[in-house]
Amino acid sequence: MALNLVYLAIITALGSALLPILFYRSISASKFVAFNLLGISGLSGILGGGMALLRHIDISQELPIGLPWLPCHLHLDPLSGFFLVLVSLVSLIAAIYGPAYVEEYQQGPQPLLPLTLFTGLFVAGMQMVMLASDAFSFMIAWELMSVSSYFLVAYQHQNETNRSAAFIYLLMAQVGGLFILAAYGVLAGFSGAFDFTSMQLVELSPAWSSLAFTLALIGFGMKAGIVPLHVWLPQAHPVAPSHISALMSGVMLKVAIYGFIRFVYDLLGHVYWQWGVVVLIIGSLSAILGVLYALMQHDLKRLLAYHSVENIGIIYMGLGLSMIFYGSGYPQLAALGLIAALYHCLNHALFKSLLFLGAGAILQQSHEHDLEKMGGLIKKMPVTAVCFLVGCISISALPPFNGFVSEWLTFQTALQGTVLSNHILTAVISISAAVLALTGALAAACFVKVYGICFLGLPRSQKAAQATEAAYGLQLSQILLAILCLAFGVFPTWTVSQLDTIAQLLLPAGMPVATSHGWLWLTPVSMDVASYGAPLVFFAIGCAWLLIWLWLHPRRKNTTIRIAPTWDCGFGSLNARMQYTASSFTMPIRRIFRPVWSVSENYKKPDQENPGGKYQLTVDDWVWLKIYQPIGRLLLATARRAALIQGGNIRVYLVYSFFTLLFLLWVVSL
């Protein structure tokens, strides 16, 4: 039953892609068909995935398509069910968000059809990745996802940045895909067959399994956006339409995580703790560098993209911890680490989509990308402001909301590091926990900046001043996501118990004790090691607030509230330029962590055309400058040298042919 629902989801997603082509005459009809079908696909995906997750369904099926001797294997189990729920949930929300948002594109230079076409293919591709259980159909679904998202990134291809971002994105997606293919190839090389069931049975030597692991780490890491391979992410996500960047950032990165988990835990069988250390270090690096680079961004969506790198780093830290414990023989703690990572996947999907949809609403209303030109939007767009605030609080991992729970679980897993025999590992784990704390705090700082500059204070530009509240579709989707963020933050116990079933599927033992003390408490190792009563915390804050408000209420009658212009120390009325801007807000952090970015500031003395002097700050990414551009230059240099063989002179060509013949004759007659 669950598998049929998932088939229905995929077919409706493909339908939402292909059917609008029939009505390309009338935009409203095609829009109606596309987004409704997408919504249905999301709904049935949630139901199918949820059923698989809750009822621990584990069914597989073979379709006759594909290679003659390798039919397409499909397999649905709680792990793919969970991620299917993620994908479908966000696509459902995007379907609600879509119609109102794309009106802006209808007058734009590009027709609407490619957008709906490739969105449908993109969602279908992601859903198929979840089901695929042989290397060939996995690669087909994977690349279908990559190619369709490439076209979405390049949707507004009239401006140059979109085109270059799309190219880099597709190039890295292709290279990532090749690495994944190599990883599957290593397994297939030994098991002889390409379907996952036979790959699971094969026993690899440590050297070969480490090679397969590294290839998978690079391949899936490139798609997830861990640090050295993250370069495409901050370029591709901001340029895509907002509901697509929400889908890409919130969900596509999770598909990469799903692929990584499926490969390492399911196919590789035996996991070594050394791998866990590598993943932990990469995760910490991604987290800290992701947040530090996010702090320095002015473009709202580019900032959110860098935060995706940070959150993926946190997920990889959770996975790294779980692999360390699994490798050194503590399956329960490994289960806890895996639960923390999966929970953070869910949370990140929710709050990142919420933030991107909020950013989309802001962009649609104020037509402004740059933070420096926004301000005072809370008065114009109250609903978006509240939902964006919920998103900011959750991403900064603050208590009542969902971001905090998964980060808390990751801390608790790190805390159990002392149980390991290898003490250097314990030291490394606690340092990585400190890095996680620093990341959390910097994320909070970054989102104070974003919310403060964007919503609070005085509007810094005319467009920001004239912004109006977004359409109902946009508001509804944001409210839905905000409620979900709060719900998963306040009632974590039920979700953790469901995730525990997945952990028991992949690992020898789960962590049932985490939810054994009823729905109120979350007690990872035991009651007195650590406990977190999420509903109680939420309830306590609520009633404390109520108590104070009631206590103050009687006095309220005799003390009036007077609205007056802000006190300006007598100099004259304050204007928007006196406020702190995004770059001034982060100036202290920029000076403290200076070597992390390649910062170039130049300040021009005030002259007649700009009396206030001109200050220009550019922050770019060391990884891009020091790794990717040299590779590009090297490639062009080799190409220039290789082109010498096509010099144009026919006699030189004859010499090539002559000497090839002579050389081969010599070789043959040896």
Binding site: W408, A427, V448, G452, G457, G533, T560, I592
Partner: protein
């Protein structure tokens, strides 16, 4: 059931003793600087005065500005309920462990900073920017300190941490010494005391916490001030109970409670005096020396953890 009543009593007692500690610290500082100074219960008078005064709101203030004081105060009050003041086994302590406590402070700080930026003045922005920078540098040191202690006591619940220290014989852990020094520096930075931020000044260049609540008047200002006092109280109790827990009651009979209450009062007064002496002795540091200060705190906590790993685990 009497556990919950005791917890409520502790919270109320906690709320109403906090201003006394701040008043005491100010009073001792005046005496050291040979000034007459206001009596220790002066903060109570200020709060009462502020609660009665008229609230003046700026035109550009948004609902966040009016909601922030309530959230900051209620979160800090909840943190107070969780921290074991004079008894250990309180049921409310299980709601949150130390990491959640740090989360509460972060939530309070988040709204405080937002409120600072809401009115759109230069000082608010400056205060928020500095506050967030300092706190983001302080948090890793704080976590590392908590981790060091947690490694020995195998738990992050404050109740079980103190209970572990009480049950086991008094031992001098080198990791605890380092963690204590580190946490002390962090506490000073978090509560905005002298070397990092001057609580008493309104000088633009030096104020951090004050800059954020510059625009507040009337009952909102009172709540904000009270929240700050509560925070100082929580940090001092945390330091005291984590490193010198002796005398705290571990069952709910009257005599241990009284001894616990007496011991906590004495300890806090001693800590308050030490804080006052430290504040008069040291001048405020330049803002960009704060990273070295917090770097030192992190190094100390790191040394604590390393010494635990190297020396204490056999």
């Amino acid at each position: 059931m009497n556990g919950w009543i005791l917890a409520l009593a502790q919270t109320i007692l906690f709320l109403f003793c906090a201003p006394l500690l701040t008043g005491w610290v100010k009073w001792v500082k005046c005496k050291l600087q040979s000034r007459r100074g206001a009596p220790p219960w002066q903060p109570y008078r200020d709060l009462l005065k502020l609660f009665r005064k008229e609230v003046v709101l700026s035109e550009s203030a948004s609902p966040i500005f009016r909601v922030a004081p309530y959230i900051v105060f209620s979160v800090t009050a909840l943190a107070g309920a969780v921290v074991p003041m004079f008894a250990v086994g309180l049921p409310s302590a299980a709601i949150a462990d130390v990491i959640v406590l740090v989360g509460f402070f972060a939530l309070g700080r988040f709204f405080l900073a937002l409120a600072g930026m809401d009115v759109g003045t230069a000082f608010g922005g400056m205060g928020s920017s500095r506050e967030m920078t300092i706190s983001s540098l302080a948090e890793p040191a704080m976590l590392m300190g908590i981790f060091t202690i947690a490694m020995t006591v195998h738990s992050t619940n404050l109740a079980s941490m103190t209970r572990y220290l009480l049950e086991h014989p008094i031992q001098l852990y080198p990791s605890f010494v380092f963690a204590a020094m580190g946490m002390l520096l962090v506490a000073v930075a978090e509560t905005g005391r002298i070397p990092i931020d001057n609580p008493a000044t309104h000088l633009e260049l030096t104020m951090v916490h004050e800059a954020m609540i510059l625009e507040y008047t009337g009952r909102h200002l009172a709540l904000m001030e009270w929240g700050a006092m509560l925070k100082l109280m929580i940090y001092s109790i945390l330091l005291v109970n984590l490193f010198l827990p002796w005398g705290i009651a571990d069952n709910f009979s009257t005599l241990p409670l009284l001894i616990g209450f007496g011991s906590i009062v004495i300890k806090l007064f001693l800590l308050g005096t030490a804080l006052a002496v430290m504040e008069t002795g040291i001048a405020k540091m330049r803002f960009f020396r704060a990273p070295q200060y917090l770097g030192l705190a992190f190094i100390l906590c790191l040394l604590g953890m390393l010494s635990h790993v190297i020396l204490e685990i056999n």
